[in-house]
């Protein structure tokens, strides 16, 4: 049975086999799964960006308590950035962040600035009938998604192909306010070294 976790795992496996990865970052880490997956695939240093106070038990992980919307100047650059199920919440105040209708686009631009030339962004946001489920999340149309990933090259898409995954796909596209379908996009910063 495939799930979104497995999609992220496969995406990381594909990326780390093909591109040199020295360091990585995870944005909006809640459980530690994605920093752990980065370490599992041999990335030596992982920065965890959060706006809420957290601490981590692993020496290869570094916490960066920072709101990238407010200030992303002077941040290190990364070979890999994972931003999974985070972007759609930005700017809605749910996590104590400032209200900003364009917060997702602003964060996406900040993420592009975090990538090294040729760096990889692994991103997932809910797709479906577009709306803002204030203050829970946004649901993205292909139009808004293009605005978010503008300037990045789409390399691969991983999605849940199980019957449950397809059920989520149809529910998200037929009903307003359903945000269960989240493919995982592998994107590359087009600026070459």
């Amino acid at each position: 049975m495939e799930s979104n976790d497995k999609c992220v795992f496969k995406a990381l496996e594909w990326v780390t086999c093909r591109f040199p990865m020295e360091n990585g970052a995870d944005i909006g880490c809640e459980s530690g799964v994605f920093p752990a997956m980065q370490l599992y695939f041999g990335i030596r240093k992982v920065a965890i960006y959060e706006i809420r106070p957290i601490e981590v038990d692993h020496p290869s992980c570094e916490i960066r308590l920072k709101n990238l919307l407010e200030n992303s100047q002077g941040e290190p650059r990364f070979n890999l950035v994972t931003c999974l199920s985070t972007l759609e919440h930005v700017g809605l105040g749910r996590y104590g962040d400032a209200l900003s209708p364009q917060g997702d686009i602003q964060l996406a631009n900040a993420l592009k600035a975090l990538l090294k030339p040729g760096g990889i962004l692994i991103l997932s946001v809910p797709l479906g009938r577009p709306c803002i489920l204030y203050n829970a999340a946004r649901i993205y149309s292909s139009f808004r998604l293009k605005q978010v990933i503008n300037g990045l090259k789409l390399l691969r898409v991983y999605r849940d192909r199980t019957p449950m995954g397809w059920a989520r796909f149809f529910a998200a596209h037929l009903q307003y306010g359903r945000c269960g379908w989240q493919p995982v996009f592998v994107l590359q910063n087009e600026v070459r070294p």
Binding site: S3, G32, Y40, P53, D57, G96, I132, G180
Partner: protein, 73 residues
């Protein structure tokens, strides 16, 4: 130019923060849909220090576990 049509709920002040948000979210996207507004706001703001444990997840990955609950809610 024709003025955009907003759902009455957005124009009313019956929701917390509605007044303050009104203008800002109008400049966002899809502001004139019913599903854009929910009556129950969620707050996951936290002042308490949360502890993220990487080691148990790394061990689980080494043992072949691939599902950790992401995207299954």
């Amino acid at each position: 130019m024709r003025a955009p049509r907003y759902h009455p709920r957005i124009l009313g002040a019956d929701l917390p923060l509605a007044e303050a948000l009104q203008e800002r979210f109008r400049s966002g996207f899809y502001p004139n849909r019913l599903a854009a507004w929910r009556t129950q706001l969620i707050s996951q703001k936290s002042e308490k220090l949360a502890r993220i444990q990487i080691e148990p997840i790394l061990k689980a990955l080494t043992l072949g576990q691939r599902r950790f609950g992401y995207g299954e809610q």
